[in-house]
Amino acid sequence: MSAHVKIKGLTITYRDDDGNEMVAVREATIQLARGETLGVVGESGSGKSTLARALLAHTRPGARFAAGTVHLGGTDVLALKDAALRRYRGGRAAMVPQNPLSSLTPHMTIGAQLEELVRLHTDLTGKTVREHALSLMERTGLPEPEMLAKRYPHEISGGQRQRVVIAAALVSKPELIVLDEPTTALDKTVEAKVLQMVADVQKELGATLIYVSHDLNVIRALCSRIVVMKDGIVIEQGDADRVFRAPKNEYTKSLIKAIPQIDVEGPFPPEANSCDQLLVKDLRFFYHRPSGWPFLRPAETRPTLDGLSFSLKKGETLGLVGESGSGKSTVASLIAGAVSGHQGLITLDGDTISGAAKKRSRGMRRRIQMVFQDPLSSLNPAHTIEEILVRPLRHHFGLTPSAARDKAVEALRDMELGPEFLSRRPRQLSGGQQQRVGFARALAAEPDLLICDEVTSALDVTIQSNMLALFLRIQRERAMTCIFISHDLAVIARVSHRIAVLEKGQLREIGDRDTVLHHPASDYTRRLLAAASCHVPDGNQAAGFPRSLSA
């Protein structure tokens, strides 16, 4: 078996702000046969994207290839220059980047962009250019290519954009396709379809595929070989089955253990005879589109929330799951008071909640707390952690500065952070630590209801796993009532007592965790579950996903 892709002793370094030479990738050696699929996994900052870019002889600004070689089918990739390099990129090797919106030009239609690439990378001329572009769009499963070709990137959905970018990568039938986290920004059901499409296309072209992801489920579904990276070092590589079944490296083991799975044990049940704490009845909400004219009433659009009713017992966690645009975050914003103007009834312990936070009583504001999705954006970068924690304590309880400081230390300790964090600023913390501070701030107010809006989606898997464990402990210790919002069923399965499924502003299903997960009543829930479990590593690959073609 001759190697198609051969990376030998590749070291990539970059200069940090102080001018020190740092290593991004250290002596990576990888070999792949033609038609194999390689998954590169690792957490953020592990060097996996840097390694993938090296296959196109590309580095981020400031980085350089310090040592080693990259060969594709006998060509020394790193030695390519100018015209030869341009022909190589997009010709023999193609890359699908992570963010499809930023990799498409906003001022050109989809069709025009694809046609430009066809002209650049093939000998086609005249009408055939357009035909080829349209056939690529059809190949990547885009509906009505003729219509879609006339649209601009912002006029199509995220899933469609990613298909367009993949179509662009296929223009010249490349022998190597590098995909860098192409589905991270997509909903699970969309992701499953895009992955299926990628697998089909790869099989058809017989191309070698390198897939970079932090999501082990995706890698497992798609790839025959795996490379695990940490701190720029390839710490384990081998056959996908072998790595998943019998990982040799301790870090790989912990990664695999941290994979969110639906078949997990649920949280500790709440007290049996607790009473209803939160009641939501017939909740409706419209976003208003500004009319553009002064004094003219803004136009109402399609309802974001359409007649939602549910209740929540004390000490219970309700998992709210749905895809982007389902209205799950709007529910959180309405209950927390970040947006106002709903119809219907929301009560907490019998007190009616209405209007924006500003209009509510001070006590009510304290009783409902929220933890946000993006930990960095939820902490003021200009403040120290002490200021961030002390202010709410003084605001809600009227504490003296020193008493508030003591309570802040306590709140940090509760989140397993030491008092030395008080003097830090948010940017000096890791993502997981930032989110702990976010939790500490919310919990310091001693809320009756805690709303967690996608609190783990910005975190790496092992950190996410720690975060969820911490959440479960706190929830149980304090018998707190929580609404936990996520697009990820596996996360929801781990923390929720009950699960509500939201689609297009309507409640598709609500019920006990086990009932919803194992005996779903609605088609939509079944689709969500199928999308989530097509990656679940139960030993068998989902039908339709290719194994190594050369094996």
């Binding site: 409902i368 929220m370 946000f372 964090f421 911490l470």
Partner: protein
Amino acid sequence: MTVEALSPMAAPVAAPIARNRPLRRALASPLTMIGLVLVVFHLFLALFAPLIAPYSISAILTDGLTPPSADYWLGTDQIGRDYLSRLMSGGRVALLVALTGVSGSIVIGTLFGLVAGYVGGWLDDVIMRLTDALMAIPELLLIAILVLTFGKEIWSLSLIVGIVYTPGVIRVVRAKTITIAALDFVRAAELRGEWLSFILMREITPNLLGLLAVEFAIRCSSAILKISALSFLGLGISQPTPDWGLMVQEAMSVVFTDPWFLILPAITLSSLIIGINFAVDGLARAYGVTGTETDL
């Protein structure tokens, strides 16, 4: 990293604080260093020129134009005053006017920009349309009208600089405020029920400081140039106060016989402007202030 560190309940240990020394990084760049030295030099001159200058700025020492000599290093001007002494003091008034005027525009502009960007709605519309209206008037025409209205005193020139520069500051601050107001920490403060003043001054403003510092410096350099241009046109600083713009204008009549009377004030003026711009460039890059959208 060991497995223990990754086990679910392991407490994260505070990593050592990343040393972030933007100032040292800025000073490592020669251009920034040159800029800072020039700025410090000019500030020193502006403060102490009367003390270190060889002669008084208004003393008439000779009969008229004389070339450089041992007594008068740069010669004397048309009415016999020591040119070096006048050159040393030539930036004082312009600097003073620029500093006070721009400070005022930064304070007022920040207030309006914060309110427009954060509160939004009709208040935003009113503030921004007024801003647009002011910016629609050609700058030199606006200045000329204001000078004719308020006169050419130091205080009135400062006021005029303030009026001319405020709209730009409002725009920049408003744009940045809108970005910051969309972040979740502002949401958290709102959900807590904080006062408007707290959210504007304590949550948003600290994140504007880098931007404002850059704005301040860039607008100062622009204001100094504008004031010199005004003096050149006879709308700004007038005799007997020494001013580079005025000195260039005076030298116009002797430009072919004694060109250094024109070249010297031009060089001193440029060195101050270039100094400010180099210093701002380097500091802004080092402190990560980008996209100031300064429309100068």
